[in-house]
C-alpha cells in the first residue's frame, strides 16, 4: 500500500515526467488564451488517457508480447494503443457541448509525448496491473497539476510590467525551469 502511495506521489513530485524528462512539453510551447478550468480539463483528459493506455498496454505486453518473445514490437504496439485510445476518447466526447474546445486540444493530447514516453520508460518497471494504473495516474496528475500551476502563475505574470519580448512563451519557459529546479529538491526523499 505504501509502495503505491510512493508511486503516485513520485509521479506528481520527484519523478514528474515534464520536469525530470522534459516530455510532454508541447502545451507549454504554444501561446493561447485559456483559463484554469480549461487546462484542468485538459490535464484530466491526459490523465485518463495515460491510465487507460497503461492498463491496456500492460495487459497486452504481459499476456501477448512477453510469452511469445515479441518484445521487439513494443514501440509499434504501444503507439497503436495510444492512437486507438485517442480515437475512442474523441468518439466519447463527441456529444458534449465543449466539443469544439476539446477538438482544439486534440493535437496537443495526441502529440503529448508524455503519454507514449511513460509507457516506453515504465513498461518493464511496473510489475502488476495495479502498479501500472497507479503509476500512470500519478504521472498524469503531475502533468495536470503543473498545467494548473503554470496557468495560475501566468495570469499573475500578465499583470506585471514586463518588457514585451519577455511576455508569453519566454517567461513561461523560464518559470517552468525555476519550478524544475525547485522540484529537484524533492529527489532525495
Amino acid at each position: 500500500m505504501l509502495d503505491l502511495l510512493y508511486l503516485l506521489l513520485g509521479g506528481v513530485l520527484w519523478n514528474n515526467i515534464i520536469l525530470t524528462q522534459l516530455l510532454g512539453l508541447s502545451p507549454f510551447l504554444v501561446e493561447r488564451k485559456s483559463s484554469v478550468e480549461d487546462v484542468w480539463g485538459m490535464g484530466m483528459m491526459t490523465t485518463a488517457l495515460m491510465t487507460a493506455s497503461a492498463f491496456v498496454a500492460f495487459l497486452i505486453y504481459d499476456v501477448i508480447l512477453e510469452p511469445l518473445a515479441l518484445e521487439f514490437l513494443e514501440n509499434i504496439i504501444l503507439i497503436l494503443i495510444v492512437f486507438l485510445l485517442v480515437i475512442l476518447f474523441q468518439q466519447y466526447k463527441k456529444g458534449e457541448a465543449r466539443e469544439k474546445r476539446w477538438h482544439f486540444y486534440l493535437p496537443d493530447v495526441f502529440m503529448n509525448t508524455a503519454v507514449f514516453g511513460i509507457l516506453l520508460l515504465n513498461m518493464t518497471e511496473w510489475e502488476t496491473v495495479i502498479e501500472a494504473i497507479v503509476g500512470a495516474a500519478g504521472f498524469g496528475l503531475g502533468f495536470a497539476v503543473l498545467l494548473v500551476i503554470i496557468e495560475a502563475i501566468n495570469s499573475r505574470v500578465d499583470k506585471l510590467p514586463l518588457p514585451e519580448w519577455l511576455r508569453g512563451i519566454p517567461i513561461q519557459l523560464i518559470t517552468l525551469g525555476i519550478l524544475a529546479l525547485a522540484v529537484s529538491g524533492f529527489s532525495g526523499i
Partner: protein
C-alpha cells in the same frame, strides 16, 4: 476522424520549430546527442514524406496520421536494432528519444503531402524545416554542454561552468532566454502566424 484541422498547419515557422522541440529536448544533453537526434528526425521526416508521396491517393483520409506514424516508428525501430549491434553506448544515451521522434510535429506535418497539389514544393519546405530544426537542436545542445561543463566535445570554451544548466530546469531556462532574444531582435517573426510557413 480528423486529428489535425487544416488550420493547425498554418502556424508560423517558429511555432512549428518550437513544437518540434518537444519530443527531442530531453535527449539533447550535449552537442553530439542533439546532432544525432536532429539528424534522425530529418531522415525520418524525409522518409515519411517520400512514402506519403508514393502512396498518395491510396491511403484513406482517416488512416493518414496513423499510417505516417507507423511508417516512421518502424524505421526508428530498425535504427534501434542497428544501434543495438554496432553502437550500444549511443543507444543507452538516446534511449526513449529515438522512438519518440515518430511523434515529432515535423513528421506528422508530412500528412499534408496527401492533400496538396504541388508536392515537390511542399516536400522541399518540409526538408528545409527539418534542416532548421537540426541546427536549432544542435545549437541548444551545444549551448547546454558549454554552460554545464565548460567545454564542447572535449574543447575547453569557458573558464567556469554552472552545472545546473545540465539539469532539465537549466535547459528550459536556456530555451526561454533564447526565445526572448529572438522576440527582442525580430518581433515580426511570430506575427506571420496567419500567413503560414513560407
Amino acid at each position: 476522424m480528423e486529428l489535425f484541422s487544416s488550420e493547425f498547419w498554418q502556424q508560423s515557422r517558429i511555432y512549428l520549430l518550437l513544437l518540434a522541440l518537444a519530443p527531442a529536448l530531453g535527449g539533447a544533453t550535449n552537442f553530439s546527442n542533439a546532432l544525432y537526434l536532429g539528424l534522425i528526425t530529418l531522415v525520418v521526416t524525409m522518409a515519411a514524406g517520400l512514402v506519403n508521396v508514393a502512396l498518395k491517393g491510396i491511403i484513406e483520409k482517416e488512416a493518414r496520421v496513423p499510417f505516417t506514424v507507423i511508417v516512421t516508428i518502424t524505421l526508428l525501430t530498425m535504427y534501434q536494432f542497428y544501434l543495438m549491434i554496432f553502437n550500444a553506448s549511443l543507444l543507452d544515451e538516446l534511449g526513449i528519444f529515438i522512438p519518440l521522434a515518430a511523434l515529432n510535429v515535423l513528421v506528422l506535418r508530412q500528412t499534408v503531402l496527401f492533400e496538396v497539389e504541388d508536392v515537390s514544393h511542399e516536400f522541399r519546405k518540409s526538408v528545409w524545416l527539418g534542416v532548421q530544426f537540426l541546427f536549432l537542436l544542435a545549437f541548444l545542445g551545444g549551448l547546454r554542454e558549454m554552460l554545464a561543463t565548460g567545454s564542447i566535445m572535449g574543447t575547453d570554451m569557458l573558464a567556469r561552468n554552472l552545472s545546473f544548466f545540465g539539469e532539465p530546469g537549466g535547459m528550459l531556462i536556456i530555451l526561454g532566454m533564447l526565445f526572448a532574444l529572438v522576440k527582442a531582435v525580430a518581433p515580426e517573426l511570430q506575427q506571420d502566424r496567419e500567413k503560414g510557413v513560407k
